[in-house]
């Protein structure tokens, strides 16, 4: 094991991580649920479930179904609200920061107003948070459900409104659409880093009942099925902007994570794999270190974007 030889620390737009491994919002709860599986503080960072200014109940059941090499969900951003998160998990999350694992709190909203309200609550109640990730892949209620982050213009609008209110690193969680354009728009509005990809919208129909297999017509596809698509989008984003990219999408092994880094990701985020392989993120930490040593580099940063094309 060559870990000791390789410096694994990365700087994700001001979020200083001791290693590049992060967890995806909505797949890792608030971290605490995983302490029974491994020492969560081994990770470079965790990202919390997306929280809004007030609690949201989310969508009816069924909220998930399986698809080949993946799954679909329509949880609908169910969350206890920022205050509820702090009440239940604030001490744990502050302690995680003390254990040298960065905590990124995700803000959810359906409108500029809701995003602003969410980040203001986070600034007020989460002094311990190392960063704020704004999920702009949510449906925009004011615009008939079109994605908030579905166009460069709408993405820019919400980043512009939120940026001055966030006094720590601001990550933007992009929708998997028009990646280079939207990446540049978010960078221009002052985002410190980009997180991608979010789930890809899909549809699955029970052909006997003629109904969606979810409680909504469509849901987000995640898992190994979308990994190759995610690597391509991370590569496009990293080539489009100068700010760092937090790469995710079907990462289920250190090899998947290494692909993300070679494609240009500064940090790599484990998502759906946390559900069925709850020690995955911890093993990715070790696997990446061993790979970096094998590749003969002194610093993992040398491998970021190092794919030869």
């Amino acid at each position: 094991m060559g870990e000791k030889n390789v410096s694994m620390a990365v700087d994700l737009g001001g979020v200083r991580m001791k290693n590049p491994v992060n967890t995806a919002s909505g797949t890792f709860g608030f971290g605490k649920q995983f302490e029974g599986f491994f020492d969560v503080a081994r990770l470079g960072a965790i990202t919390t479930k997306g929280c809004s200014a007030v609690p949201w109940a989310g969508n009816p059941a069924p909220r998930m179904c399986e698809v080949p090499s993946g799954m679909m969900n329509t949880v609908g951003l169910a969350n206890p609200g920022v205050a509820g998160m702090v009440e239940q998990f604030g001490d744990y999350l502050a302690g995680l920061e003390d254990r040298d694992c960065r905590v990124i709190v995700q803000a959810a909203g359906h409108s500029v107003e809701e995003y602003v309200a969410a980040v203001e609550k986070i600034e007020e109640l989460c002094p311990w948070a190392s960063g704020v990730e704004m999920n702009i892949s949510c449906p925009n209620i004011a615009r008939g459900g079109a994605l908030v982050g579905g166009t460069p213009e709408s993405a820019a609008e919400v980043v512009r409104a939120v940026r001055p209110r966030v006094h720590r690193p601001l990550l933007v969680k992009m929708a998997p659409v028009r990646v280079p354009e939207i990446a540049r728009a978010c960078e221009a509005e002052g985002a410190d880093a980009l997180s991608l990809i979010n789930t890809i919208n899909g549809m699955s129909i029970d052909v006997r009942t003629r109904r969606s297999r979810l409680s909504k017509p469509t849901g987000g596809v995640s898992g190994p099925a979308i990994h190759a698509i995610a690597v391509r989008m991370v590569w496009e984003a990293a080539n489009a902007v100068k700010i760092p990219v937090n790469g995710m999408g079907g990462v289920a092994s250190w090899q998947d994570a290494a692909e993300m880094i070679l494609a240009g990701a500064t940090s790599v985020t484990v998502g759906t794999a946390n559900f069925y392989d709850p020690t995955c993120a911890s093993r990715v930490v070790d696997g990446l270190a061993a790979w970096a040593a094998e590749q003969g580099v002194a610093d993992i940063n040398e491998l970021i974007g190092a794919v030869e094309c």
Partner: protein, 263 residues
């Protein structure tokens, strides 16, 4: 919340054989988990072989034996995961996540209980019977199945000291033809139960809940939901509550008071 932290356990198949038409009984060697899992909780089983089906299979258990270090699971073969599980042989190794969810509670001062099981819902009900007999709580039971070939648990319930065990089948091939609720209505008539524990199809549990409400007997139901994780991370196993809120089947359940649930 679960008292014992949910963890990952290496397990080995000790035995795995059919106990009915499309019903299998697997015994897993899982000493650490067998020592701490309680009746009503469940496990999330990794079933290797087909990487296109990424999620674990959540399954209730019928018997956790700390002395033997084993967990017995009676399951229905219904999809890819349970079909692959049915093909596992003694000695095959895999992993399970557990304990998941919360145990059956034993209401303060309860001295007589009735158990109502429908289909493969009998699995956690047999675990409940084991808990009751260990606690000296007398119980009767109703076990329903589609046919006699899909019936399991009657001998187990008798062996655990059940007073009466009423059997119902949809086709009358065992016990009486009809529904568990028909039998339950009669048992409730003598008014001697402090609590009813039930697991089965949701429509059946709704009927059981209604009968209990009419009889003023507390009813505890074990709910089933599709889920991704089993330990509160995914948020996909929501159960609608009577007050309009949602609760998590794995984190807040799977056992709920029937009065909480929106049927």
């Amino acid at each position: 919340m679960t008292a014992v932290a949910t963890g990952l356990h290496d397990v080995v198949v000790a035995s795995n054989e059919p106990v009915g038409d499309g019903l299998m009984r697997v015994v897993l060697s899982a000493p650490t988990l067998a020592a701490k899992i309680a009746a009503g909780q469940f496990v999330d089983v990794e079933v290797p072989g087909d990487a296109s089906e990424i999620l674990r299979v959540p399954l209730s258990f019928s018997h956790a034996d700390p002395d033997a270090g084993t967990i017995e699971i009676v399951y229905a073969v219904v999809g890819g995961g349970t079909s692959r599980l049915a093909a596992m042989a003694p000695g095959d190794a895999t992993t399970i996540v557990g304990p998941c969810g919360n145990p059956w509670p034993l209401p303060e001062g309860a001295s007589r209980a009735c158990l109502v099981a429908g289909g493969v819902g009998v699995t956690p009900v047999v675990a409940c019977a084991r808990m009751l007999s260990a606690s000296g709580v007398a119980f009767d039971a109703v076990v329903g199945a589609q046919t006699s070939e899909r019936l399991w648990g009657v001998e187990e319930l008798d062996a655990l000291g059940a007073g009466r065990v009423e059997v119902t089948t949809d086709d009358g091939t065992a016990g009486r033809r009809g529904f568990t609720t028909d039998a339950l209505a009669e048992l409730l008539a003598d008014g001697s139960y402090d609590v009813v524990f039930t697991c089965g199809p949701e429509v059946m549990m709704a009927g059981v809940a209604r009968l209990c409400r009419e009889s003023g007997v507390r009813c505890l139901v074990s709910m089933e939901r599709m889920m991704c994780c089993g330990f509160g991370a995914c948020g996909t196993c929501n159960v609608a509550m009577a007050d309009g809120s949602y609760k998590s089947c794995c984190k807040d359940g799977p056992v709920f008071d029937a009065e909480e649930v929106a049927w």
